[in-house]
Subunit: 154 residues, 2 copies
DNA sequence: CCACGATACATAGGAATCCTATGCACCTCA
DNA sequence: TGAGGTGCATAGGATTCCTATGTATCGTGG
């Protein structure tokens, strides 16, 4: 039955993606908390951005993003400047040390996985194909019209 | 340069895996907290197990696993029984409602991703190949001898 | 020009998930 | 029988996340 198979594929995909991600986060030798790394990554991609923009892009609440940005600013990884278009808003940007911290965290995570990849003796084309699919899926989730979970309606 | 390419592959893989996993967790319509789901999944795989065994399998600390199991027990999703071999230990097992809660959470997550998969019109063989690689990687991480992060040495 | 509703961000209080340190009961071994 | 190790629980704390609410600012319509 085709539908059951698709459910199983989706479940297997999510389960293994979650496990791999968690494993790498817990074994990588870097000090950057993963939510902090995620925010730095977004700021790098989006360029100077408002807190509400970052919150939307990260699918997180505005107060949560406010606190994350405050921490990153305290650590010197981002700066905030007034948005000339709106006195209420500020624009978050990476500092050179923020860029360095993000790069270091990425290298550490990549280095954690590399021995596993080479240990599998995986065909690089095969890995590339898998990564391409994951990237397409992530892109597609950005535009997917997912109905709000029904159980959360007030 | 081959090494740079492998770093990039590993980085892309982990980044997209993390994003996909987070997206699904946040959009799936179920009430089971993701750490609870993870523990239920482990208990399902391992059969009756001790807290220290579950902690090791989940790469988490023993007190953290104690608290998680306490919560699951309070919700009626697991039971604990004395280990006849050791009065200090107890064995954690799934209850029927734990099994049902886990299955419901898995279905919800899979259903969240399914429209994205079908929207991509992805060749099921291509998805299957990607999942197979991820599963192999996860298996390989269990046996990988990863050096402890150097920065954490006391 | 002013008032009202909307918006951007901050604070408060709390939940979930994770940690280390430590304590107590039990186990193993010499 | 005692010392060292093990299994689990508790205490205190960090990180990440939430909703509710408050304040300052903006936009729009009358």
């Amino acid at each position: 039955m085709e539908r059951v198979s698709t459910d199983d594929l989706a479940d297997d995909l999510l389960r293994s993606a979650a496990r791999l991600s968690r494993w790498a986060s817990r074994h990588a030798a870097h000090d950057l908390p993963w939510a902090q790394a995620r925010v730095l990554s977004l700021v790098e991609e989006l360029g100077p951005a408002r807190i509400t923009t970052l919150a939307a892009a990260d699918d997180t609440s505005q107060p949560t993003m406010t606190t994350q940005v405050q921490r990153l600013e305290a650590e010197g990884f981002v700066t905030r400047s007034s948005d000339p278009a709106d006195a209420r808003a500020s624009l978050v940007e990476l500092t050179p040390s923020g860029t360095a911290a993000l790069a270091a965290a990425r290298r550490a995570r990549a280095r954690t996985l590399e021995p596993v990849l080479t240990g599998l003796d995986a065909d690089p084309a095969r890995v590339r194909a898998a990564v391409d699919l994951l990237v397409e899926l992530v892109e597609a989730t950005r535009t997917a019209a997912v109905p709000e979970p029904a159980g959360t309606a007030s």
